[in-house]
Amino acid sequence: MAQENKLITLENITKKYGGQVVLDDLNLYIRENEFLTLLGPSGCGKTTTLRIIGGFETPDTGRVIFDGQDITNLPPNKRQLNTVFQKYALFTHMTIAENIAFGLKIKKKSKQYIQDKIDYALKLVNLDGFGKRMPDSLSGGQQQRIAIARAIVNEPKVLLLDEPLGALDLKLRQDMQYELIRLKNELGITFVYVTHDQEEALTMSDTIMVMNQGYIQQIGSPEMIYNEPKNAFVADFIGESNIIGATMIQDRLVEILGAKFACVDEGFGTNQPVDVVIRPEDVDLVEPEQGTIQGVVTSLIFKGVHYEMEVEANGFTWLVHSTDLSPVGKQVGIKVDPFDIQIMNKPESEDEEAVGINE
């Protein structure tokens, strides 16, 4: 990647609270105009990472570089970025319009400019005519949208968003996802977005960073993260999956539950213990004699677009998604295309499993 392309770089960031290590030697760069999502379970350090970028937290070690300048110790009000906080943090003593105008008044913009911006922002977040209301009189979702409006009127280079759609219902959430992407493209802002909703991450991002317990598990495009998870944690966290202990017999051949499957991975050595990930939609149910292994359907649930089935085969319960129905009790064969089998190194200890050293 070209050097000048990196807008923000985090170098060797470590953060401890008390004795608890929250971020451990985190390295990350964010390109101009990128939509980067920090994804991970609750308490994994997403907000902390965002707060370090925003300047509300100083890292114990490491540096934050913005546009080529070290801003590690620069206070938040001097940084060219704005934040949408996880809990909205609206000013309850001001009207909605005054909330949105806050940053612009600090920058001493003209009255007309501010008024235009307020109108524009309210339209953008679909809250036309709410300018005179007080924040307390708005629903959680509406307050969240005001928080977004309050941030974007400042036209920051980077917008930090901490679960900005957390309080919205599904329909509004999807609408806002499109709105945010449109906004980003319109304004040419770099987005750093925090969520623990993997679907949202896959839909919106250019790049996803999967975190767990303060460690980066994997950084990549949504397709990469989904199709080629680096380890069992990522595979498990992003979408549903069958994660099975297996043995790599040789390049392009893996033994799963006693049966040999062709795959496309190389370089794992011979007779090495590995983990394989197979997505439920990649498991094909066929006639028993055509399958690599055989099993019996033990449960069937209708999920709308597809059926979700569980198949007992060779001592493992396979999760299968398919538009074709196989009734409970049916004998089936299981087949998996070679490129649908994702091989991962096995973690050598439980510690490693937690922190994901096995990359």
């Binding site: 925003g54 300047g55 509300f56 206070p75 938040p76 009000n77 704005n82 934040t83 906080f85 996880q86 809990k87 943090a89 609206l90 000013f91 309850t92 003593h93 001001m94 009207t95 005054e98 105008a101 806050f102 940053g103 008044k105 600090i106 920058k107 009255k111 007080m134 309050r150 941030a151 400042n154």
Partner: protein, 285 residues
């Protein structure tokens, strides 16, 4: 069904009445009744008992008027001093982020548990001609200060005695302002003073208003402090009222002046609260 609901409602009402009765009795016995008596004495003449406004008009007597003006001046000064001392202190306490608010409250309540008279007499000892301050001053060869029996001494006493009433309500509202709101202001480009002026101060208004009330009212009506630190030279309105009761044995005049004072305080507070409401949300442009 309906009958049953009706009966339940009746039972509930009865229960409410029973539960609140001690409080109601208390209010009648110790708040309403005395008030009625003050109003009655204040509005009747001493000899005949007929209705009169003479007791209220007493406040216009030049000596009484001067006393009232001095009292108002001193209590306004004390109240403002209390605010100026308490606000930064409460801000500092908030930023300490103490885990238990109880500890802070205790810290400021502790001196108040000591007898009010004792505290004031302690100040007398400190400020006296041969008191602690002057002893220290002469020890380093500086001229003695003449503070005792001056308005300054009274203001000092008032500030010391009533400061906790200012700190506690302000600290209470300040500690309820979330860090994220302050961070949001910083995020939007505000520096510390802009955050203080545009966010923290307006959000802490309710605490300021109740602090002002809680310091101004006792300052205006106190007579103990002026007795001890003013040496009886400086007459405040509270003292005048006390004298009417105890020296002149004129309850009607005492009650009349009290009534005037009450109405005056009431008007002051109404103005403060009205100003507070008016300025809300419109002062930003």
């Amino acid at each position: 069904m309906n009958k049953r609901e009706g009966r339940l409602a009746k039972q509930n009402k009865l229960r409410q009445l029973l539960l609140s009765s001690p409080y109601v009795l208390w209010s009648i016995g110790f708040i309403i009744l005395p008030l009625v008596m003050v109003v009655y004495y204040g509005l009747t003449s001493r000899d005949g008992g007929g209705f009169t406004l003479e007791n209220l008009k007493l406040i216009w007597e030049p000596t009484h008027r001067a006393t009232l003006i001095l009292s108002v001046q001193l209590s306004v000064i004390s109240t403002i001093l209390c605010l100026l001392i308490a606000y930064p202190l409460a801000l500092a306490l908030r930023s300490l982020r103490l885990k238990s608010n109880g500890f802070v409250i205790l810290l400021f309540m502790l001196p108040m548990w000591m007898n009010f008279l004792l505290r004031t007499i302690a100040w007398q000892n400190i400020l006296e001609k041969n008191g602690v301050i002057n002893m220290l001053l002469s020890a380093v060869g500086l001229p003695k200060l003449n503070i005792i029996n001056t308005p300054t001494a009274i203001v000092l006493g008032m500030v010391y005695d009533f400061l906790p009433f200012m700190i506690i309500p302000i600290y209470n509202v300040l500690s309820k302002i979330g860090d994220d709101v302050i961070q949001a202001a910083a995020d939007l480009g505000a520096n510390y003073f802009q955050i203080l002026w545009r966010v923290i101060l307006p959000l802490s208004k309710p605490g300021i208003v109740s602090g002002l009330t809680m310091v101004f009212v006792p300052s205006l009506t106190t007579f103990v402090i002026s007795d001890i630190l003013g040496g009886g030279n400086i007459l405040l309105i509270g003292k005048v009222i006390e004298q009417k009761f105890k020296m002149a044995n004129d309850w009607n005049a005492g009650c009349g002046l009290s009534l005037v004072l009450m109405v005056f305080i009431f008007i002051c507070m109404a103005i403060v609260q009205k100003y507070d409401k008016d300025s809300e949300g419109t002062s930003v442009w």
